[in-house]
């Protein structure tokens, strides 16, 4: 299999883009990424999007984005894996480069959630769970998270503060970030006094509703020497698990993430301790804690304590969500996985501005579909 490189990234600000459509956001991100890479065309386009068919009543986004980019004729598909749709699109694009069929691929993730009422966005999110088993009894994404939260506190004998520390950390890192939806700090007290969404999960412990698009350009070995833009080497792996956590051997362990992380470390020839920074899928605070523990970056029940000790600060042992993660940078479902990898690329090419981590060599991004039913893990190496 050939090597895969990231050669360019493009991001839109995440927010409520009332005056722009889903396709316009994706085109903005795509053009920025192509410009960053210094390329005008690619062999294939992969589009990550979760809820377009439901919220915009728009499928067939591959052909539409190709047309909007003036690239009619280019193969283009949409890839869907719930909240991990963007990462799934990267996975598909990377496989085409690795197979040797393509030498340049554009991956665009986009979502426009403000086109729906909050009830419709919740319904869209619920589509990532199994409707017959969870949706129809009213157990939505957040109530499942609340059950995990309760179980976590009971098993490890901890209070909510060691879980609510993660949104505080994401907000701290998002402060002043130009593309972040919520670029400001939020105190632990404020998080813990916000209203319950589903007890014990509070409003400030879940990611908000936002619109945004992110794009990356992937290239292969042949183009590597010709493209002048800063590059990173990409490894990506994926795994699945039972859809509901309560069918799993241990609900407080994302087995899919464990498998995908080990696989990607193995393929990249990297030790876990050599990972310099990490992007965690903090759709909720409790998912952040479980993710860090499931993937071996913290002992079970210990991640919050590590966070409180500064281990995941920008200057800590393992900088976490360095631009704010899902909670503060924002979580436009199908775009989120692409934002994560684009941000890692900025860090590893020394272009992270005031959020720059000190000389990172290896970064990891974890993207989850549903409550961990899909895990897609990307590892970038500095060149």
């Amino acid at each position: 299999m050939g090597k895969v490189y990231v050669a360019g990234v493009g991001l839109t600000k995440i927010g409520e883009h009332w005056d722009r459509g889903l396709e316009q956001l994706m085109v903005e991100a795509a053009l920025k990424a192509l410009e960053d890479a210094g390329l005008s065309h690619v062999n294939s386009i992969y589009v990550g999007n979760m809820a377009g068919e439901f919220l915009q009543e728009q499928a067939h986004l591959g052909a539409i984005i190709a047309e909007d980019l003036g690239m009619v004729g280019t193969p283009a598909y949409r890839v869907e894996a719930a909240n991990a749709s963007g990462a799934a699109a990267i996975h598909a694009g990377a496989l085409e480069i690795a197979s040797g069929k393509a030498d340049a691929v554009l991956v665009v993730g986009g979502e426009k959630l403000s086109d729906g009422l909050i009830e419709e966005v919740s319904s869209a999110l619920l589509m990532g769970e199994r409707q017959e088993y969870e949706g129809f009894i009213g157990a939505d994404f957040y109530s499942i998270n609340a059950l995990l939260y309760k179980l976590y506190m009971k098993r490890y004998g901890v209070k909510d503060d060691v879980i609510a520390v993660f949104p505080m950390l994401s907000h701290r890192h998002a402060k002043g970030v130009a593309h972040a939806q919520y670029p400001f700090e939020v105190s632990l007290e404020k998080i813990l006094s916000s209203p319950y969404i589903s007890e014990p999960l509070r409003r400030f412990e879940i990611s908000g509703v936002g619109d945004g698009a992110a794009a990356i350009v992937l290239i292969g070995e042949e183009l590597k020497s010709k493209v002048k833009a800063p590059k990173t080497e990409l490894y990506i792996s994926s795994a699945t698990d039972f859809t509901t956590p309560f069918e799993r051997e241990d609900p407080l362990r994302f087995q899919s993430l464990d498998v995908a992380v080990n696989k990607v470390l193995d393929e990249a020839g990297v030790d876990r301790k050599d990972v310099d920074l990490i992007e965690i899928h903090d759709a909720t605070s409790i998912m952040a804690a479980i993710s860090l523990e499931s993937s071996g970056f913290a002992e079970p029940g210990e991640s919050g304590k590590l966070a409180m000790n500064g281990e995941f600060d920008l200057s800590g042992r393992l900088p976490y969500n360095t631009f704010g993660g899902l909670k503060a940078r924002g979580n436009p479902f199908g775009a989120t996985g692409v934002y994560q990898v684009a941000e890692l690329h900025l860090q590893l090419t020394g272009r992270a501005g005031k959020n720059q981590v000190d000389s990172p060599k290896v970064g990891m991004a974890q993207s989850l579909g549903g409550v961990g039913a899909t895990a897609i893990v990307t590892l970038l190496k500095a060149i």
């Binding site: 403000s114 909050i118 916000s194 209203p195």
Partner: protein, 349 residues
Amino acid sequence: MVRLNGVAIQGYGGYVPRYRIRAEEIGRLWGREKQELPIEEKAVAGLDEDSVTMAVEAARIAVKRAGIDPKKIGAIHVGSESKPYAVKPTGTIVAEAIGAGQNILAADLEFACKAGTEAIQLITGLVESGRIEYGLAIGTDTAQGRPGDALEYTAASGAAALLIGRLTDDAVASIEAWSSYVTDTPDFWRREHENYPSHAARFTGQPAYFRHVLGSINELLSDEGYSTKDIDYFVFHQPNVKFPLAVAKALKLEREKISSGLISGFLGNPYSATSLLGLVKILDGAKPGDVILLASFGSGAGSDAYIIRVLDGIEEKRDRAPKLKDFIERKIYIDYASYARFRGKLRLR
């Protein structure tokens, strides 16, 4: 911006029903925590009240304050989105009730929450052109909010009336300028035969309320117009407590210039009457020479903004009739069950 010539408020009146329901009581029913509630409490019309009776109350106060013979009123325009009759004018009922004559123009207006300020535009035009001597502009609503919806916490009842005539030495305030800003923005609507309005949640913020309110205000504050420094009081439409404060922040206004006109925290949002009741509250305390900027907002969407300069007549006329404070302080708390009965939320068949 349109400058008006020789048109003044000769009398004004606000009316708020005596019943209040605390937001906490509504939240108790629907499982909302206190920190999620947009206001403290709201005014609720009683069993024997509707948007017509409240319009009459406000109009009587305005006429009393003006001290004129109601037979001299040449036009009554009533803005509301909660008319008790789908077909039958409110203006005619008000006219009969206050003793106006029969050779008058009576017409109703609807533009979500800004129909009351639209009535001012029509009346000032008729007065300025000399077609009528006096006219009444009224905003009145028993606002509807679907049970359990975010609107239910704020949708309130109230009415306000301005009696407008030619500028005279004893006028309450002159109306100096107005501007309007409207677009086709579907942020909130109620279709025929529906009991409650629908809305597009946060879409009613930036693209609707803020864009239109700032659109009309900025027209008045343009190069040839007024500066925020020239204006002593600002009053905006208040769908909740946060939105008018956000407009004040965008305009970099001092808190004291906006606090006098805030009513939604303790009266709620009586739709067409809201910004006018804020104006009434300011007039109750203003002194001659004060300049007021009033900006309404109606979903669908649009905003009317006015520059109003308080005149000497306020001093003598103010105490001729009950002030808004009297209605604000007169209150009886009711529970959700009474509220449901009063507002027709219990459908028996």
